[in-house]
């Protein structure tokens, strides 16, 4: 009886092993898509190993589409246009694509598996995006929950970006976090300092990447950054400018002002920085100092809820009521905004009501 049981177990194990082997062999040979060709913008061809995602295949070729979730199909930022190949749109992609995008062949590159030759269209600026090996050379506490981090570029050693653009930072596994995370942060340094990148990072409650930055990152650590990304940058006109930022939204505006300091400008500029309490203000002296750099620049910190003991004597409440005194010709005013969606919605509404054209309002709404 017992021997019969052992024989049955052995037979079951044998069948399982056989099926597992069949699966492995099938995976190896039947799902081997070989080398596939990806044609980009009808002019560049790259050969990639089939069977992996288009996002990963392009990344292996040093072509980095933006991706805030590391290819998990949850952020919807790695869109590109497929003009040939790629198979049907997956259910995981549809929530991120509008009817027009679906009609235009837009896909999430992380969800497209390369199983044959593919033709894609991407913006030319994506060819400028690189993955940088960097070393942390400075960490500064700006407030109780905001740090400034400076990275020296090791390989490649130089980056070409526009003031206002952002990079993606890869955090490493730590504590309970078993995998890398990728998050986007605006560059706060000026493009002319192209051997380094500064970021301003606010600690996000329950944030995987910001907790790593705030609690684990040290001077001397190696960090990988990818970029530059984004279309938030200064338009080359003579229009007056209004900058509005809150929290870590100061980063791209700082980069823009430092850039303008180098190239010079006579444009009228007003910078409103919104903070909840005085403890949320930072780099105030540095921003005020621009009033001596530019012929017509004003830095206006506005605090909404100052504590009595803080003795705040500056502008109080919402930012918007102060706009009229800063805008002399609404039609000839550009606005550059970076902050939370709530703030941006209120600011945009106020600017449009004052006559600033919607087309001249540029913003980065916290990813």
């Amino acid at each position: 009886m017992i021997s019969r049981i052992f024989i049955d177990i052995a037979v079951a194990c044998g069948i399982s092993t056989f099926l597992a082997l069949v699966l492995v062999i099938a995976q190896r040979y039947l799902a081997d898509y070989g080398i596939c060709k990806v044609t980009i913008n009808k002019k560049k061809e790259v050969s990639v190993q089939g069977g992996i995602s288009l996002l990963g295949a392009l990344s292996d070729q040093q072509i980095f589409l933006p991706s805030a979730c590391g290819g998990r199909g949850s952020c919807g930022t790695c869109k590109c246009q497929l003009t040939s190949g790629g198979g049907p749109v997956l259910p995981t992609e549809k929530p991120f694509l509008s009817a027009k995008e679906l009609g235009d062949g837009i896909r999430l590159s992380c969800q497209v598996k390369v199983k044959g030759d593919i033709e894609i269209q991407i913006e030319e600026s994506i060819f400028n995006i690189r993955r940088y090996r960097t070393k942390v050379i400075d960490i500064v506490d700006y407030t109780y929950d905001i740090k400034g981090i400076t990275f020296q570029l090791i390989d490649p050693q130089r980056i070409d970006f526009k003031a206002g653009q952002y990079v993606q930072l890869e955090s490493q596994p730590y504590g309970k976090v078993k995998q890398k995370a990728v998050r986007a942060y605006s560059i706060s340094s000026k493009p002319q300092d192209n051997g380094l990148i500064q970021l301003i990072i606010r600690l996000v409650p329950e944030g995987i990447c910001t907790t790593w930055v705030h609690n684990h990152l040290k001077v001397g650590d190696e960090v990988f950054l990818t970029g530059p990304y984004g279309d938030f940058y200064i338009r080359d006109t003579e229009a007056d400018m209004i900058f509005v930022a809150g929290g870590s939204g100061k980063a791209p505006i700082k980069s823009m002002l430092e850039y303008l300091q180098v190239v010079g400008t006579k444009r009228k500029m007003t910078y409103f920085f919104g903070a909840r309490t005085c403890k949320d203000l930072y780099l105030t002296d540095e921003m005020k100092a621009f009033e001596k750099v530019f012929p017509d620049f004003k830095y206006e910190p506005v605090v909404s809820q100052p504590c009595p003991e803080e003795g705040w004597e500056g502008k109080l409440g919402y930012i918007m009521p102060y706009f009229p005194e800063a805008i002399r010709d609404p039609k000839n005013t550009e606005a550059y905004l970076c902050g939370s969606p709530g703030m941006l919605a209120a600011v945009q509404k106020a600017l449009v009501e004052l006559g600033v054209p919607q087309a001249k309002i540029y913003f980065d709404s916290f990813g």
């Binding site: 995981t92 986007a184 996000v204 329950e206 944030g207 995987i208 907790t211 939370s340 709530g342 916290f366």
Partner: protein, 151 residues
């Protein structure tokens, strides 16, 4: 209550460090179905649905959004503010869509209760009846939540 492979995958996504730092399950030893079933029993006892609670949460979050991220006092009882930070989160149940990293904090002055939730909490409660596991940073006890939002 046994889990299907798909539910096991959902629980894997709820572990610390996958979507959020500390995950969605806290120190709870119950599985996903048990957590949901137990909270559904409490809801039944309270005579309110998860959808109703979620809609009330959304109402308060929307009120603060209209006020440009500043605290608002509603009906002289509810002190509510929403903090929005950079980034978005996916649903651990793999539902379509991504949710802004918002934290709404509500204090019911009458009941002296403070609760907080995220945009993702509203979704998981409304669509999945999931209030998170005990000990999770954003666990919402249905009984306390009802008291805070409606009493």
């Amino acid at each position: 209550m046994k889990l299907t492979p798909s539910e096991e995958q959902i629980m894997a996504r709820m572990q610390p460090g996958v979507i959020t730092l500390n995950g969605f399950l806290g120190f709870d030893t119950r599985n996903l179905n048990e957590i949901i079933a137990d909270d559904e029993k409490v809801l039944e006892m309270l005579g309110i649905s998860a959808e109703e609670l979620a809609e009330r949460m959304q109402y308060f979050s929307d009120k603060t959004f209209e006020s440009y991220d500043l605290p608002v006092l509603i009906d002289e009882i509810y002190e509510v503010e929403t903090n929005i930070v950079r980034g978005k989160l996916p649903c651990p149940f793999r539902h379509p869509g991504i949710y802004r990293k918002t934290i709404t904090t509500l204090t019911n002055r009458k009941q002296q209760i403070t609760v907080r939730w995220t945009a993702l909490s509203i979704h998981t409660i409304k669509e999945h009846h999931f209030f998170e596991g005990k000990g999770s940073p954003f666990r919402l006890d249905p009984q306390i939540l009802k008291k805070a939002l409606l009493d």
